[in-house]
Symmetry: C2
Subunit: 414 residues, 2 copies
């Protein structure tokens, strides 16, 4: 993989020009993407910015995010060749920071669960996860040091775990979702993929102007609350082993880890995600559903068919459950800095017909809290299995610092 911070340091030191850094990404895309299929469009003419903390950094942008200079096709034939008028604000934030969007990354259709054509760079027969399939794969395959994705259920953290890269789903709306195709306005959250947690922190600080997000070179040992999310069912054996291994590494490096039982009001909000998402998706995709239903892929078609049965009262009830859980979550963080849990049930399933399961991600998307996938662990077959670090709303810096600590702990020699 390309490390964003490593590239930035070499550019800052004058050892690498921004344009040369960008060229490395173009060459990597040319070498790898025929197999991986992370990109649905590449702008081979894209040039590096001359100034800004991210100058020379090539970025893959999920293809549900509007770009004025590249097509935006939503993973759907309905939008074949579609050119939005304006760049989404997050795209402008990239270019303001000096970064260069070099292409649009493959998304599942409308960011739901019907698979995209992307292969997992760690093993071509396994799913890269979804819906930000191309963004995770582009970083994992070393094609770009940074990629933008979105998460409504588990579409950032899950593919990052499956592909073995770092990723953050920040606090709700820390990154703007204007100009991002909507699936659920209460849930849709933009996020970042990079090789390492410090890479993520540096990029997120550059995009938001929040310097406190950058991680220290030696992050302090966090107080960790372990959450197994029993309401979501058990993990796969390798998912459980990865979490155990992460705990041992964290403790060995000085962190405290204690098991936490989430209050019932939080656990029960898990089941609010579905009706909330589906009621909004039915509205958000009304034009597509009502005028082009036959061009929608089968799983999305079925979801929208069934969503018509959710009435407004059930939706209101789901919103109230989410609100109650958000309020209750403050107490959970009274005695721990972060939570630690599964990023996904286990390693990427050995199929391209499914994008995997978001059940360990959905509650946290609903709660709007920052989640980081920490890479570095693998199962017996050598496939990556991530673990997830979660902080309170608005405490993205804490999530990144703890995730950085954990990544170092995992990488430390025994």
């Amino acid at each position: 993989m390309q490390s964003l911070l490593d590239l930035c340091r070499r550019i800052d030191a004058g050892d690498l020009t921004p344009q040369a850094a960008l060229r490395m990404s173009h060459e990597a895309i040319a070498a790898s993407d025929e197999d991986i299929r992370a990109f649905v469009h590449v702008d081979a003419t894209a040039r590096a910015g001359a100034v800004g903390p991210l100058r020379g950094i090539a970025v893959g942008v999920k293809d549900i995010i509007d770009t004025a200079d590249m097509p935006t096709e939503m993973g759907s034939p309905i939008y074949a060749g579609w050119r939005p008028k304006a760049d989404a604000p997050i795209v402008r934030a990239l270019t303001r920071a000096g970064a260069t969007p070099v292409g649009k990354t493959a998304t599942t259709p409308f960011a739901y669960i019907d698979p995209a054509p992307t292969r997992n760079p760690r093993h071509p027969g396994h799913t890269p996860g979804g819906s930000s399939s191309g963004s995770a794969a582009a970083v994992a395959a070393g094609m770009t040091p940074l990629a933008i994705g979105t998460q409504t259920g588990g579409s950032v953290i899950r593919p990052a775990s499956f592909c073995g890269v770092a990723a953050i789903k920040p606090s709700f709306r820390l990154l703007p979702t204007v100009g991002v195709k909507c699936f659920s306005w209460t849930l849709d959250t933009a996020g970042l993929f990079a090789a390492t947690v410090p890479d993520l922190a540096y990029a997120l600080a550059a995009l938001t102007g929040r310097d406190d997000l950058r991680t220290a070179s030696r992050p302090p040992a966090p107080r960790i609350g372990l959450v197994t999310q029993d309401f979501a069912g058990p993990p796969d054996p390798d998912g459980g082993e990865a979490l155990e291994s992460a705990i041992r590494s964290a403790e060995r490096s000085g962190a405290t880890v204690r098991a936490l039982a989430l209050p019932a009001v939080i656990a029960s909000a898990f089941s609010a995600h579905g009706p909330l998402q589906d009621f909004e998706a039915r509205q958000a995709l009304a034009w597509e559903y009502e005028t082009h239903r036959d061009l929608l892929p089968p799983l999305l078609q079925r979801l929208l068919d069934e969503a018509s049965t959710i009435d407004a009262l059930a939706y209101d009830e789901a919103r109230r459950a989410a609100r109650g859980a958000r309020n209750a979550l403050g107490d959970v963080f009274a005695e721990v800095d972060v939570l630690l849990t599964f990023s996904a049930p286990g390693a990427a399933p050995a199929t391209l017909a499914s994008t995997g399961d978001s059940r360990f991600n959905r509650l946290w998307t609903l709660l709007g809290v920052p989640c980081v996938n920490v890479p570095g662990l693998a199962n017996g077959a050598g496939l990556p299995v991530g673990v997830q670090v979660i902080a309170a709303f608005g405490r993205d810096a804490k999530a990144l610092a703890a995730a950085s600590f954990l990544a170092e702990a995992i990488a430390a020699p025994l």
Copy 2:
């Protein structure tokens, strides 16, 4: 004005065909709009729906709302001739209910405060208000029985007050804002204009599938809390007189009215609206600002220039203030059903160079609570002056019922 409910009753009874009802709107537009300039685009070929509670109802749609079959120009030359790919969900909700979007209504550029070309149908030298200038004027001039607008500061309630029509800014996101050009994602709220409060209630119920929103034919007398918003400065004399008159009418009809002092945490949130809106607008309009600044109108240009000085910490502080005020508002509604306050400082100013002042609207937009403009009162010169009824979040039915009661009380003979 055309009463939506009156048209619907005649259509239901078979006395009027949906197509004949629609033709009345087309004829009214042809007769009046050259002077009023409420519409920037009219689809003269639009046909009535055959089924649905709003069949035969012509609707003006604010031109920041995406339509697949009509241009969407944002009131700006930057978007001249622009055709979005998809209808915004609110447009699909209209057509699902049988209504017919017959044209796009004039908006101030990007829904900020630089005026649109629209005239006030009550007096051509006075502003119709903004930013939903055309939507308010289209209903006021009897061109359509229903129009859609949006409010980020006071862009629904203020023009309704100036033009003498009923309007509702519902609870935040009761109507979806997907496909609506974003100015501030925390504040932008879609709303409705119609001739009467029961018209609004019927239309909002039809668009949302929430039958409880329809008002009873004899709404019960509400307990009213009077709020003068001293933190926003004094009203004009005619604004004060209208509120006094509304109070007397309400009491005469059996309502109780008591003066309420808002808790300090709510009053102080008034000043959070500005930094919150401006910080988000700078991001939401980043592409327009960075690539077409010279084509932005002067007031918007200046706002976005100055918004660059708002840092993330000031924004976070404004969000916290808004959240604190939203939580505190529950107690205010413990002993009253609704609040009553000014819709605007007074009647429409005698100018076309300003859209008037949103200072009595901004706090309620920030709080996300339903607000209804009640028409029926006028100043000494015969210009309309509305009053504003406000309910707790999600209590749109209560706001509409109380507003309907008040409108009847105002119209009742002494």
